[in-house]
Amino acid sequence: TDATASAADSDSNPMKDAFSKYAAYLNDLNEKRERVVKASRDVTMNSKKVIFQVHRISKNNKEEVLEKAEKDLAAVVDQYISRLVKELQGTDFWKLRRAYSPGVQEYVEAATLCNFCKTGALLNLDQINASLRPLSDPSVEPLQINVLDYLLGLADLTGELMRLAIGRISDGELEFAQKICSFVREIHRELMLIAPKMDDASDMKTKMDVMLQSVMKIENACFSVHVRGSEYIPFLGSEDTNFSLLGVPEIE
């Protein structure tokens, strides 16, 4: 009977053939996803190291520390992002986004932190993406960090900048701290306008709340230095106004 012909163990069964294809597709996809997740974890871990390197900055070792951080950051790109790019070669970047997004966000955080310390300006998405382009095989579409991951990374950046600002005030670099304060305020203001338009607006909302806390922590620190510094200015006169920017070296 033809019932037998279509039984599960027959070879010429079109359904079976089709499902072999589906099975192969799903297996490939899962394996690729696993490899991407692993590459992303590596990117995360090593980007975090770069961020810690930047936090080792102090008044006197700026160039040295940043130089090392940039070298490490370049290594992240060469060793880990390149692997991510290789895995994603020719795939739909959006389909696997959830697998690599954490790593990319952390990389954005590290790269923009380095850049801000060096230049005082925000590293653009275009600049980051331009630097990634050489990693891809020129024949396929190159991995480009998307706006969302960039903005999510930027949101986390403000937390690191807050830590940096507190440290800089301790080190007497009040001007640097104020620069950070303005910069973070500006990012916060800009992101506030954009946040609800993002694909995953609720994630971003939480990050915005944390960000406002960071801004206010910096502002409170600046306030504290300011009132303390203002107290004796009437008495000391104006010739010694820099005295309020007390730092470690003054101890010795």
Binding site: T1, D2, A3, S6, A7, A8, N13, P14, M15, K16, A18, F19, S20, Y22, A23, Y25, L26, N27, N30, D92, F93, W94, K95, R97, A121, L122, N124, L125, D126, E141, V147, L151, E186, I187, E190, L191, L193, I194, K197, M198, D199
Partner: protein, 229 residues
Amino acid sequence: QSLEKQFEEFRHQLEDSGSLRERIRSVALEIESATRLMHSSLLLIHQSRPVPEVLETAKRQIGLMRELFSRLAEITRECPGQYYRYHGDWKSETQTVVSLLAFMHWLETGSLLLHTEAEEKLGLNPDEFGLDIEDYLIGICFMSNDLPRYVVNQVTAGDYDCPRKVLKFLTDLHAAFRMLNLRNDFLRKKFDGMKYDLRRVEEVYYDVKIRGLAANGEKTGEQNDQAQS
């Protein structure tokens, strides 16, 4: 300044993608609405209306459906490579469409609507805007969920050969699904459900068989295996 400019640009991009998403959502809503009508027509099958009549009414939506999917494709053409960015906005609707088309196809031919056939029915060009395989598979599971109800109502209406045919189909389908390696996700949960559909159909088959109701039907049934009419 440059910072502001960059964010200005982002805002434009996000607004563009926001409005794109809105257009997609609106098409998806129309798909949902057409699906609802198709489903409504198809439900009459449970009230033992003649298959050809039911199919005819249900098929009336296919033209519209194709048009809606071609509009989806058109919209995503504006953002090449971002199919999966917006995928969440139409996937659930698409899964339901697949389940209905597969049910209709089975009623007509007695065989499974394959992935490529589903794409054809919806007028999709897989190079440009294809049917995601997981969506297809989930749709098939949804279809399987409706089969026990169909069998029960058919037997109630006196069609005693129906259980045998459905059982054979569902057994093969289940065997085919077992070839897949699934993650612990939605699809796996749906596939687990298929086991219960199979068991229910089997029970009905048993009920019919043990009462000798299936006996005659089995012979005449063989002839009509290709399509129910």
